[in-house]
Symmetry: C2
Subunit: 421 residues, 2 copies
């Protein structure tokens, strides 16, 4: 079965706030990543102001050169937002009332006990030639246009409204309109090793998968490298899935010690999931990471299922008085040492009555307080009461990066030592 390898997409982001640096264009990043996963190729991302001339010009260019134009922004109820009028003008169209949207907008405000203003009522006026894509999260609907085999989709700029419309309606419609390849992805998460090291280990493997028409992408982020296997256009779904399983198995043979998950997830989600499933509790004693590890874990809902609490023992005095680390351990080994990290983890576990504890102590930077210990030296430890494991990280001088990295490695130390894969 034939599929379309080169469906080109332009992303058009509309809004003055993008040009004066008030808003980071995360919509374009999300759309770019999603297009890439769906087998569409993004040609350009263009941010322009809420001005008719600028919008018209970019739409005209995109409609003749790309196959898909994804427009975000400029659909709010205020007078600045002129995207809808401009698109109607481009398609030589008029605005008509969409009853379903009107009812949805009315319900939206009724639920919030707010009056429907004239500007909000206007949101259910849409170009007659578009297919309305309901906005289940807000008021301004998405709009789908087709002309000469080209698709233009206009969506609100509010990220979760835009994502909702894309996920509920747009991908399916694009898939149908352009016979996109049937893509199978597998994501392997690695930690604690660089992209170039993995690339070297996987060089022969990459040649092997290339022959099976499977591509491997390295997607690095600080401390982690996400590896993505992609098989394009294979319509024997079951056979392709089995082939992918075999290749994932081979990756485990080659780089298994760095893999922490076979699905797209964070090391923190792995920790949360394991603790929940095995009914284990966790506490954390942080020094140089300053509460960051606790904060990351508690950003997810229901973290209290397993996380009982923790302590930030920033000053040495706090380590000895509240965490009961022996002064002699500190004097003999230095406050930045695996011995201190171990005592912190062990005592934290006892203090909070948890199954596991994690501890960190180090110099996050940009300077070290101790001439004998270079900046970026961070000791981490984990304990389950029976055994305690520790490790020393040698990181750089960037404080925020070092904190992020130490949190990742500390979480991974827990996983690597106590979770049965």
């Amino acid at each position: 079965m034939e599929y379309n390898k080169n469906v080109w997409v332009d992303i058009l982001s509309i809004g003055d706030e993008l040009l004066i640096g008030q808003t980071v264009n995360t919509n374009a990043t999300w759309l770019g990543a999603q297009c890439n996963q769906h087998g569409l190729r993004v040609r350009r991302v263009i941010s322009i102001p809420d001005q008719q001339d600028a919008i018209l010009r970019e739409i005209e260019t995109s409609m003749t050169e790309a196959q898909v134009t994804l427009v975000t922004g400029g659909l709010g109820p205020t007078k600045d937002d002129i995207t809808k009028k401009t698109i109607a003008h481009y398609f030589q169209d008029v605005l008509v009332r969409d009853i379903e949207t009107q009812e949805r907008v009315n319900r939206f405000f009724a639920q919030r006990n707010l009056p429907v203003l004239a500007s909000n009522d206007g949101q259910s006026m849409v170009p007659s030639k578009c297919q309305v894509l309901p906005n289940l999260q807000g008021t301004a609907p998405g709009m789908w246009f087709e002309k000469n085999g080209h698709v233009l989709v206009s969506m609100p700029g509010v990220p979760y409204e835009m994502k909702g419309i894309m996920e509920s309606f747009v991908w399916d419609k694009i898939q149908n309109a352009f016979s996109l390849p049937n893509i199978i992805h597998r994501t392997i998460m690695t930690i604690g090793v660089g992209e170039s090291f993995l690339a070297e280990k996987l060089a022969p493997f990459e040649e092997e998968i290339a022959q099976a028409e499977i591509a491997l992408a390295y997607l690095p982020s600080p401390g982690c490298v996400k590896l993505r296997l992609s098989s394009y256009g294979n319509w024997d779904n079951e056979g392709a899935q089995q082939k992918m399983d075999i290749f994932v198995g081979k990756m485990h043979q080659l780089i298994g010690e760095y893999i922490f998950s076979n699905t797209e997830t964070s090391i923190y989600q792995v920790i949360a999931q394991f603790c929940r499933q095995s009914n284990k509790t966790l506490s954390i004693a942080e020094s140089c990471t300053g509460g960051a590890l606790q904060s990351i874990l508690t950003q997810e809902a229901q973290a209290s299922d397993y996380f009982k609490g923790g302590i930030t023992s920033y000053w040495t005095e706090v380590k000895t008085s509240i965490l009961n680390v022996h002064e002699s351990t500190i004097e003999k080994n230095n406050v930045v040492s695996e011995a201190v990290a171990k005592e912190m983890a062990e005592n934290c576990r006892k203090l909070f009555h948890t199954d596991f504890a994690i501890a960190t102590t180090g110099y996050a930077g940009p300077t070290s307080n101790d001439p004998n210990i270079p900046v970026g030296t961070i000791c981490i430890a984990v304990s389950n009461g029976e055994t305690t494991f520790s490790s020393t990280l040698r990181l750089g001088t960037n404080r925020v990066r070092n904190i992020q990295n130490a949190c990742l490695q500390a979480a991974n130390l827990l996983r690597a030592n106590y979770f049965n894969n």
Copy 2:
């Protein structure tokens, strides 16, 4: 003296990683905000891949339509990065060795005990027609071109390298090249009140400053609104400064209770600065914010000057056993109550032997554990041992937003009650 009101800028961001959603284009956001502050107007932000045709086309358009083209990315040593060759091609130029850059690159690697590879050595080859803008943070230099009154600047995509080149060289050169207005800005930071509320309070004030040719911009971020007064083109610097002082004073009369700083700073930096200057120490007891407040404060270097440590008492058991909150207080008032927040702050201060303590307890969402207490209810308290103040926030259902907002409000509660402005 005449100045140029409409110097149009195009921002051209080059790199495949921007189009497949691997990298968020924060460079464009920073450049947009900086252009806006310097009196330049950004016309378009365009992200394109590392492809000669695409780069050439956008440069040609920009060189004829805008006055300034700021190009970032595509200057790395790898073969994918073809920006430099393409720009040289556009200017019909050849690459020549820049000795100063070569020496800087050699020093850069020597300091890191690394060999200079051929690809790195190539970074000191630059188009003969450009002015080299030294990269003091990395290896690829910036390049300044002029043609028919138009300026094109090419810089590396690494954010801190790009910012270094902009700040050290580019703004001054643009100011000279285009007679930009002499802009005076004053920034007023407010917290705990919405943009529309401030706009209503300041409506007559806005009319008054408009007559003095001063503009007021509202720059909202979650929990805070930054207000910026801008006076353009006034070359009587001292007189303009005095006029601005008077207007800032008037803003304090109108909305003083919401202002936490007359300079661009965060509430956390205000806390850090005050504690340092007055030699005060701080500890923090967090429940629903889960370590986020401690983490934010310790992201800044030298936080240990004033921050001794803290506790995340996530489970009620931790509040009673380690923080010694009375069980009767919890039973009588609920664990999410100002009474509990107050005891947490008071006991935390004693436990950590600090001058001040901050505490939080609430339901961050997306759900509440208690049918009587709606999600988004967060109680905060601060204590200095003599007095304790508390407050109850009624926030939404977005967990991450609620945590951020509670941290801001808790920090502000400390400032509002104990810092003498």
